[in-house]
């Protein structure tokens, strides 16, 4: 399969796949910065108990509103609780809610989008109008409305946020499937007698992974932000859960006593959201050109990437 190549070009045999991959990752700043940020938070979430000696919920009234110091890296709050520990454990909450809500939105949304695209016609119109109905609400407002009518725990908060995402995943999946359905390999699969489900799953599915992954990452950022917002409003997980949003809500009543208590949770939220946003943007750029077949042997006319 090797042929003589224009000078300066490396054929697939000369350089390993992984080297090329690594180079592409490095070139994508969004991916790198976002990835590092996200990894840091993942690390914090997993190893929280080992990174601090304080119990995040332990009150110590002798050390209220402490400034950041060697004892308390980020100071303490109005109950004397160590802020750094609370931030660490708060990472877990953000991730838990984030993962569950994104999964809910993704699984349901992807199914709806695929069904709408594959069966088309009336089902498509019906499902998409329902999705539009959901999209008619500003996102945070919908989450608030849903949570308002339910008791608040990890499950309900995640569901409330997850529902907000369903139409977005549905739309993305639907477009991706529609594009693929026009390709001949779908007809070929039908000609063999393959069932609709299997076609969706095996043939079309893999081509839809990229846009869904990009959306999932971006949506995760939004989930973290929304969870913080809900907690801030008092609609998130109940105390004493150290949700970052709740920490901010509690801290703002004591602004004159300590500005630090309001500072760190906000930084945490911002960095986490920023990290996922960058990661999502990075994925989008990274996955896109690859799909047009950079290593495609057939399209010999196209020079370079």
């Amino acid at each position: 399969m090797s042929e003589s190549s224009p000078p300066g070009f490396l054929t697939a045999g000369e350089v390993s796949r992984w080297t090329i991959l690594a180079a592409r990752v490095k070139a994508n700043k969004n991916l790198v910065v976002g990835g590092v940020l996200v990894l840091i938070f993942v690390f914090m979430a997993i190893f929280a108990p080992y990174l601090t000696r304080y119990d995040p919920n332990k009150r110590d009234f002798s050390a209220r509103f402490a400034q950041p110091s060697m004892h308390h890296l980020m100071g303490t709050d109005h109950f004397g609780r160590d802020t750094f520990s609370r931030i660490l454990f708060g990472t877990r909450i953000s991730f838990e809610v984030g993962i569950v809500s994104v999964l809910i939105g993704m699984i349901i949304g992807v199914i709806i989008g695929a069904v709408a695209a594959y069966w088309g016609g009336f089902i498509d119109s019906l499902l998409m109008r329902m999705m539009d109905g959901l999209l008619a609400f500003p996102q945070l407002l919908l989450a608030i409305a849903l949570v308002a009518f339910m008791t608040t725990n990890l499950g309900t908060v995640s569901i409330a946020i997850g529902v907000v995402f369903i139409p977005r995943f549905a739309r993305v999946m639907r477009s991706a499937v529609l594009v693929e359905m026009k390709r001949e390999y779908v007809e070929a699969a039908k000609a063999i007698g393959q069932s609709g489900f299997k076609i969706l799953f095996r043939h079309i599915g893999p081509s839809t992974i990229s846009p869904v992954v990009v959306l999932a990452t971006l949506v995760f950022a939004f989930a973290v932000l929304t969870e913080a917002g809900l907690s801030f409003l008092g609609l998130g997980l109940p105390p004493p859960n150290p949700s970052w949003g709740r920490m901010l809500d509690e801290a703002r009543h004591y602004l004159s006593a300590s500005g630090w208590t309001s500072f760190f949770p906000g930084v945490a939220i911002s960095l986490a959201v920023l990290g996922f946003n960058l990661l999502g943007d990075g994925f989008r750029d990274f996955l896109d050109p690859k799909m047009s077949g950079a290593v495609d042997m057939g399209k010999r006319e196209s020079l370079g990437d």
Binding site: A191, G193, M297
Partner: protein, 320 residues
């Protein structure tokens, strides 16, 4: 001998609706009453310009597109009304090769899955047996079986078409519809693929419906040839017969467009003016009459049916 495939009065009209609240209606008469047969082991070529409906005919035979009307009988069994389950069983006998080697293979599936899938769908053999069959077929089409783990995009166009052929043959069909199988390939590769198809036909006892706009390719591959114009077959004859004695003016025009390296001019050139009319509002009577140099008054009113001109030669043209 009972024909393998028998098509009677096949029609496919596509509605032109643009939405529930439009005034404009109309239909694209893609296939407008087409009839032909294919015998076991033979190749029927279907030739015509783009838009004449030949591709639609191919799709209708496999019910990838549902016919509007007409009968399609495969080995005596009527296809058009079959349920999905029954149709699935029949699919083992009829397969298709598409024009685009890049689009007809699933981009994210490895070769081994692509080739074992047909048998898997129909529950043929055990997984190891399927793999063996796939490897054997891959070699049959001229590719090494060590490529099994690769993805389609790692192959060239010609190789991909071989893979597509292999896939189509995994179930040992009796009839293979080849829809412009080499039109998207480099000219130098075409001969290879066509010869492969001929060889496989002999080895596996296949029948082909060879669809193409290229008359020289059709001549090379086919035993009999049907010429289509605007959704209708205007002439149907054996290969040699069609070339020696074209009866329909359209066929004559097509033939004279082929440049042949011959010294003495074999036939008078017949050059057509105008363009192919739109299949939405085809001309009345004989579709070809506006461009026909031998037009008679009847031609505008009455649609000519395929009539027997002797020796298996059929033509849809009023006697001149």
């Amino acid at each position: 001998m009972e024909p393998l495939l028998r098509v009677d009065h096949l029609k496919k009209y596509f509605p032109l609706a643009r939405g529930p609240l439009t005034a404009k209606h109309g239909q694209v008469h893609a296939v407008d009453d087409v009839s032909f047969t294919i015998n076991p082991g033979e190749t029927l070529g279907l030739v015509g310009e783009s838009g004449c409906g030949k591709t639609t005919v191919g799709r209708c035979l496999l019910r990838l597109i549902e016919p509007t009307a007409g009968q399609i009988r495969f080995e005596g069994t009527e296809i058009a009304g079959l349920s999905r389950m029954a149709m699935k069983g029949l699919r083992r006998n009829m397969q298709i090769i598409f024009q685009d080697p890049f689009g007809s293979l699933p981009p994210r599936m490895r070769l081994r899955t692509i080739l074992t899938e047909p048998q898997e769908v129909h529950g043929v053999g055990s997984p190891p047996e399927r793999m063996e069959a796939a490897m054997a077929m891959l070699q049959k089409v001229g590719l090494s079986s060590e490529h099994m783990h690769r993805y389609p995009h790692e192959f060239s166009g010609g190789q991909r078409q071989r893979i597509a052929i292999a896939r189509a043959l995994m179930l040992h069909p009796k009839l293979v519809i080849a829809d412009e199988p080499v039109s998207a390939l480099d000219v130098s590769i075409r001969a290879q693929i066509l010869n492969l198809m001929v060889r496989l036909q002999a080895e596996m006892g296949l029948s082909y419906l060879f669809i193409s706009h290229d008359l020289s390719l059709v001549k090379y591959m086919s035993d009999r040839i049907g010429v289509m114009y605007l959704g209708r077959i205007v002439e149907l004859a054996g290969r040699e017969e069609l070339y020696r004695r074209p009866l329909h003016p359209y066929t004559e025009a097509l033939l004279s467009a082929i440049l042949e390296p011959k010294i003495q001019p074999k036939r008078k050139g017949l050059y057509l003016g105008g363009e192919v009319p739109s299949p939405i509002a085809p001309p009345s009577g004989c579709h070809f009459h506006p461009r026909c140099p031998c037009r008679a008054p009847d031609c505008e009113e009455i649609r000519p049916e395929l009539r027997d001109a002797g020796g298996g030669h059929w033509v849809a043209c009023h006697p001149r």
